[in-house]
Point group: C2
Chain length 198, copies 2
DNA sequence: GTCTATAATCAGATAGAC
DNA sequence: GTCTATCTGATTATAGAC
């Protein structure tokens, strides 16, 4: 309970990350100054350096945690034995996860070019891992005779592209609720894969 | 033939735009300085202001011309009477046009947030016009009984998202040439639309 | 049309007081 | 842990010489 005045280490750190994420998504990494982040948090610029070594590391940390969390979340899914139902589960998972983290998704796609070469390689490896998860599902469905795909890699990227694009226009208070949206995209994904049942 | 030393008005203007486009695509609008653009062109920073009023107008001009050129190019297409062939034509047009202008496409999607409010509205109107072209094709195909779509607007955005995503990974010297790529995506688009023939 | 020089501002990051 | 003050260098844009 007793706490030194001005000491908020348990809350300021996460707040720096949250405000940076929101500002980077809105204006772009290069366009946001450390002073802007500090103002959003409610501290002076110098205080930020108690929590982050520099601006580049802050960006990398946001992207890395987003991708790592995504992989952990997918690993935690309870998957069906039906190869078509599993594809529906991926569609639903991808849409819900990404629509609930629009800022992080936006940054993860937009700010890759602002990473150093080494940091970029790490993020790309994580992204590739996620893509591979879906490609394995498509290959399994193909082997089970549930879908017909000419090139599993291309179709994997096409499906992820189609699903991720939703984050650029979907509004929770718009004309479609999540359940309806997910239902429509499950159909679109099955169709794209040439599923035996749609 | 005779030309005042240092006078290159017929070439410098376009070169400023071309170099700015390349640099904005690579590093992002906010991350690129006028000095960098000038260095790429081969002049000093001050000379740029003979061709552009300011940095913001340069960005807007690049985005505006890209979208306007896209609409003009589509209007110039010779379209089939077959509603499914027309959709194939759109797929091919969109892929070829966008893959030949990767930098402009990247900027058009990434730098919208760096436009002023007024400029943003203008670009969004142009983008919406392009989307409407595809949506009308889908509606026509639906009315002709050639496709089955639950929500023409959603599917329009899904198709454009799927096609545009290709620009993030396609390499002309990669394992797929344009003809094969277009063929595969024509199938994917037809499938997504629930076409009677794929 | 391009140059050099400069104005006015802002950037990321650090030092030391409290 | 946060503040103020500051360092160093970069930013956009302009002015005037050539």
């Amino acid at each position: 309970m007793a706490r030194t005045a001005g000491s908020h280490s348990q809350t300021t750190g996460p707040r720096v990350r949250a405000q940076a994420e929101a500002l980077f998504a809105k204006h772009g990494y290069a366009a946001v100054s450390m002073r802007q982040i500090a103002a959003a948090v409610g501290v002076q610029a110098g205080a930020l350096y108690n929590y982050i070594p520099d601006k580049q590391t802050l960006l990398f940390s946001l992207l890395h945690d987003h991708m790592a969390d995504l992989l952990v979340a997918w690993d935690g899914q309870d998957l069906s034995n039906d190869p078509l139902i599993v594809l529906d589960q991926f569609t639903q998972f991808h849409l819900e996860y990404h629509l609930n983290r629009k800022d992080a998704v936006f940054i993860a796609y937009m700010e890759l070019r602002n990473l150093t070469t080494d940091n970029f390689a790490i993020i790309e490896t994580l992204r590739r891992q996620y893509e591979d998860h879906l490609e394995r599902l498509i290959i399994a469905a193909q082997e089970a005779g549930a879908v017909t795909v000419a090139d599993t890699r291309i179709v994997t990227l096409a499906v992820i592209g189609m699903l991720t694009e939703v984050t650029t226009w979907y509004r929770p208070d718009g004309r479609l609720d999540m359940a309806v949206l997910c239902g429509m995209y499950k159909t679109l994904v099955r169709r794209t894969l040439g599923a035996t049942q749609v």
